[in-house]
């Protein structure tokens, strides 16, 4: 669910393991659990920010509670997002504004639900359709999930990639939003790059080429690139393997989720690199892409994308292995404070890791881009 819900929702799990178990088995309703039996763990751990801690902190805290056995759905991978308090708060406010009885519980609830509906109605409807429960009456069950990936294509100050004339804008590049997707700015970089940067930088690039005619396609570079693409398409179609593209996509997703996700360690990342490499080899040997090349073929398109993911996934693991500090969404279990918070290592890791493509992901070469802070002093934020 959208993070905006955390503005008014309170996140909790049961305090007692037996209550969590009873809820999982369907013998206890969350609304029946007394206030003192609930653990509002974000408010407990981070009293200053409460439910509004950044998403990496909130995600890890949810995982920590669920790993400890306090998860509240069938799979044990869910915490509650509860609007009951917000409904009462807004309801009383509305009753007060309208000069109505603030002690009338039914009235307050109705007024409060109206406010919540006007603010979050579309998200509540989405939840109701997926889960088949009414989130106005019972807390929502939420859990962190993969949303976007952080990092992207290296670009220079003009947003041009290492290929002259090839520009990458928006979240596809590594510069701002793509670098660390922890804020609520999904469209910001696309708009800023598209409206304010590209009109100048691309025009500047093209100005040198204004009299360049049509570029011939009978060059050796063009032929080599065309042959690469054709060979890959032929290989997929003629492979006639035993597993679908989705089979590999799911397997890769599981490796990434387990070993290169919210919490990472050296052994897991090393394993992940080997597992992904093996999976990639298996993919090229045994993938099955039905149909032919010259038709609308979704499986073929997907095969090309999953082939890329199988390289990128391994590079993610390599990058995470190299960076032994914890920083933002990247949490290395070896680098944490006694309280379990992310511990940065500014002395050794104040740089952007740009990886130079070198065929196999394991052979990618690290190009460090130093981060120089002139106007601000680098500090560690505390949400306590």
């Amino acid at each position: 669910m959208s993070e905006s819900l955390r503005n008014d929702g309170r996140i909790w799990v049961p305090k007692k393991l037996e209550d969590a178990k009873a809820i999982r088995e369907g013998n206890l309703k969350p609304t029946d659990l007394a206030e003192e039996d609930r653990d509002y763990y974000l408010e407990r751990r981070y009293p200053a920010f409460g439910n509004l801690v950044p998403r990496d902190v909130a995600s890890r805290a949810a995982k920590e509670r669920c790993d400890a056995g306090f998860g509240v759905n069938r799979t044990g991978e869910a915490v509650y997002l509860d609007f009951a308090a917000a409904v009462i708060r807004y309801g009383k406010e509305q009753a007060h504004i309208k000069g109505l009885n603030e002690e009338d519980e039914v009235l307050v609830k109705n007024l409060g639900q109206e406010v919540v509906r006007s603010k979050y109605g579309n998200l509540f409807q989405m939840y109701e359709k997926i889960v088949d429960q009414n989130p106005y009456e019972t807390p929502m069950m939420i859990y962190p999930a993969v949303h976007y990936t952080m990092g992207g294509v290296w670009v220079d100050y003009n947003l041009m990639t290492s290929i002259p004339g090839c520009f990458a804008i928006g979240e596809a590049n590594f510069s701002d939003h793509g670098a660390n997707r922890l804020g609520a700015s999904a469209l910001m970089q696309g708009l800023a790059d598209g409206y304010f940067v590209l009109p100048y930088t691309m025009g500047d690039y093209l100005s040198d080429d204004i009299r360049t005619g049509t570029i011939p396609i009978d060059s050796s570079e063009f032929e080599a690139a065309e042959k690469d693409v054709k060979d890959q398409l032929d290989a997929f179609i003629n492979n006639k393997g035993i597993h679908s593209v989705d089979y590999y996509h799911r397997k890769l997703g599981k490796i990434m989720w387990d070993k290169c996700g919210m919490s990472r360690n050296e052994k897991g990342l090393k394993d992940a690199m080997l597992e992904i490499k093996a999976l990639r080899e298996d993919f090229y040997k045994n993938v099955n892409v039905p149909g032919s090349q010259n038709e609308f073929n979704e499986q073929l398109a997907k095969a090309g994308r999953v082939a890329d993911f199988l390289e990128l996934g391994e590079l993610f693991a390599k990058d995470a292995l190299e960076r032994t500090e914890s920083c933002g969404g990247h949490f290395r279990e070896e680098s944490q404070t006694p309280e379990g918070e992310a511990l940065r290592d500014d002395e050794n890791f104040t740089f952007v890791s740009a990886w130079e493509y070198n065929g196999e992901p394991a052979d990618a070469v690290l190009r460090k881009e130093e981060l120089k802070y002139e106007e601000i002093e680098v500090k560690t934020r505390s949400y306590k």
Partner: protein, 248 residues
């Protein structure tokens, strides 16, 4: 759940299509309709049958890609949902479900259940925008006060995701609800006033050129619209169109 699916199969735009029947078993009621289709395709591929092509992208009801005419209704039997938000719990064990593409002359079938809705893109390109100079002197949007009711109505119109359910549901294959939502979203705001005349004339012309039918106010579009776009927008577009015709 065990179901029988009757699905429209068509190799490409030129090919003659036909309905094929596929049984599917052990469907979880918690699956979305598209997840059920994913499972079907996995099974078909194992049997060496070409998987069913269907449109999908975000799978959270905001992109407008998923189409499908399910049991005679765009996006199936549930209200205010796209196909990805339709869950199998809305069906019963043993049901036969008929799945067809969105049908309209202006939406040619690409393959099976996927249709080409680029006609909508061309209508948008004809006028669905405001021209703003981003050279550095851009006015702060908050410096123009807008009545809350107008802002809400513009927002409601802007929630149109361009899925084409209105066209598929209309007996005339009219695109009036879509175009009127796009026109209204700007007509209600001061930022849209400057280009209002050209906008409505150009968008309506493009709509007609694409071969969409006329509106006869049956209201099926409003019922099937996953975003609840109101017929009021069509009235607003007609008004915009008439005043633009007089000015134009």
């Amino acid at each position: 759940m065990n179901l029988t699916l009757k699905i429209w199969r068509q190799a490409n735009a030129a090919a003659k299509g036909n309905m094929e029947t596929y049984p599917i078993s052990d469907v979880s009621p918690d699956m979305s309709f598209l997840e059920m289709m994913d499972v079907l395709n996995e099974e078909l591929m194992v049997k060496g049958i070409d998987p069913v092509a269907f449109d999908h992208d975000c799978r959270e009801g905001i992109c407008g890609m998923c189409s499908m005419f399910i049991n005679g209704e765009a996006h199936g039997p549930d209200r205010l949902v796209t196909t990805c938000q339709l869950h199998m719990r809305k069906f019963n064990d043993g049901d036969t479900i008929t799945i067809e593409p969105f049908r309209a002359n202006a939406f040619p079938v690409i393959k099976d259940l996927t249709v080409d809705r680029s006609a909508f893109d061309r209508i948008q390109q004809a006028g669905g925008f405001v021209s703003v100079n981003t050279s550095g002197n851009t006015q702060d949007a908050n410096s123009i006060p807008i009545d809350k009711h107008d802002a809400d109505k513009a927002f409601d119109a802007a929630t149109c995701i361009g899925c084409g359910a209105c066209v598929a549901s209309c007996k005339n294959a009219s695109a009036m609800l879509f175009v009127s939502a796009k026109v209204s979203q700007y007509a209600l705001l001061p930022q849209g006033k400057i280009e209002a005349t050209d906008r409505v004339l150009n968008m309506v012309k493009q709509m007609d050129d694409e071969g969409f039918g006329n509106c006869t106010n049956t209201g099926a579009c409003e019922v099937e619209c996953p975003k609840g776009i109101s017929l009021e927008n069509i009235a607003r577009m007609n008004r915009e169109y008439y005043s633009a015709s007089i000015e134009g």
